[in-house]
């Protein structure tokens, strides 16, 4: 467990001091994303040459499967629907790299793909994702959905707050469906999410910053 903590800190510090990246955003923009929950920790740093594409590095340490994936991830905004007070997005993501099963043989060619759809207003947020991974022949598919509401509507530059519920489904898991209430705090270019997965009794902490 102590090694896990050290790894999280090393990922946090080493990556953030060397590469500032971002998800699909504005042209020439960088994004840095860090996700942590009881199942895995990941960092994704990416560059957006256009408002529809981004490419960058992705590292995931899967605690449950005891596997580390390192690779390149490409994100594509396939379609955006801009309404007067709404926005909806359809994203496709693909990653290719290598995975090292701990205590096993060497690195193996691995990858993942993900489709994501979201719809939001300034008050409501919904999202659905499906992700398939093949990390060193360890294959899985999982779904997740989110519903969120903003308790107040802030102006540009204010601290924005979202209350959300995330439901995940891992069909092959002994506990296939999990629920995570979380709070999303959003100010300027930074976003922080803190939550707690009830079934696993694990914390969730995600952080995104754009440059």
């Amino acid at each position: 467990m102590f090694i896990r903590l050290i790894l999280i800190l090393m990922l946090s510090v080493s990556i953030t001091t060397t590469a500032y990246a971002r998800p699909v955003s504005y042209p020439d923009g960088w994004t840095f994303m860090q996700k942590n929950n009881g199942s895995y920790s990941s960092v994704h740093a990416h560059y957006s040459p256009t408002a529809s594409d981004s490419i960058g590095a992705y590292i995931e340490r899967n605690w449950q499967e005891d596997i580390t994936f390192t690779g390149i991830q490409y994100n594509r905004l396939v379609k955006r629907w801009n309404g007067r007070k709404t926005q909806a997005n359809f994203y496709a993501k693909v990653g290719v790299g290598q995975a090292n099963p701990f205590g096993n043989i060497g690195a193996k060619l691995s990858g993942f793909t993900e489709l994501a759809f979201d719809w939001e207003t300034r008050r409501w947020f919904t999202e659905y994702r499906i992700r398939a991974t093949d990390f060193a022949n360890n294959q899985s598919v999982h779904h997740s959905g989110r519903l969120g509401v903003a308790p107040y509507i802030g102006d540009y530059g204010d601290l924005h707050t979202w209350l959300m519920v995330q439901v995940e489904n891992h069909p092959e898991s002994s506990q296939p469906t999990t629920t995570t209430p979380l709070i999303r705090l959003f100010k300027g270019v930074q976003m922080l999410e803190l939550g707690y997965t009830i079934e696993h009794e694990e914390w969730l902490a995600n952080w995104v910053v754009r440059f």
């Binding site: 467990m1 102590f2 896990r4 903590l5 999280i8 800190l9 946090s12 510090v13 953030t16 001091t17 500032y20 955003s25 504005y26 042209p27 020439d28 923009g29 860090q34 942590n36 009881g38 256009t50 408002a51 529809s52 905004l77 955006r80 801009n82 309404g83 007067r84 007070k85 709404t86 926005q87 939001e120 207003t121 300034r122 509507i153 102006d155 540009y156 530059g157 924005h160 959003f186 100010k187 300027g188 270019v189 930074q190 922080l192 009794e201 694990e202 914390w203 902490a205 952080w207 910053v209 754009r210």
Partner: protein, 142 residues
């Protein structure tokens, strides 16, 4: 151990975010004196304020008069949207400042005196940012 993990994550997040903002606010003023001067009266020929210029572009106080284009935009639902518009428009020489009104779904584009920006270019820049132009209104001779 779970609590240790979450404390470690939060600590690293806070430490990093502090260093980012520390870097952004640093400017070198060693070679000139700003005492007894308003900032808008200073000679800026001998030094750069790149980060300051980027930050001030959304500050309407720097450009309350002069030509303005009011663009009605679809898809403005969050601060990230406003950031995207800011980053794209600030590269235009004609643009002095930008103010985004998320409630109204409007972007006020303040132009430099004597400069112009056609509707076609405004539409292109908004599309490049990831959003859709509905229409424009022009004020102050824009």
């Amino acid at each position: 151990m779970k609590s240790l993990k979450i404390i470690g994550i939060c600590a690293s997040i806070i430490i990093f975010s502090q260093s980012v903002y520390a870097q952004k606010t640093e400017m070198n003023h060693d070679d000139h004196d700003h005492s007894e001067m308003e900032h808008n009266q200073m000679n800026h020929d001998d030094h750069d304020h790149p980060e300051m210029d980027k930050e001030s572009i959304t500050d309407v106080s720097v450009a309350t008069d002069g030509p303005v284009i009011v663009a009605s935009v679809n898809g403005l639902v969050c601060d990230f949207c406003a950031q995207a518009l800011k980053k794209v428009f600030q590269k235009e020489e004609a643009v002095k400042a930008l103010k985004v009104d998320l409630d109204a779904g409007e972007v006020r584009i303040f132009l430099e005196e004597g400069q112009m920006l056609s509707d076609a270019i405004v539409a292109k820049l908004i599309r490049k940012s990831g959003y859709s132009l509905v229409d424009t209104k022009r004020e102050g001779g824009a």
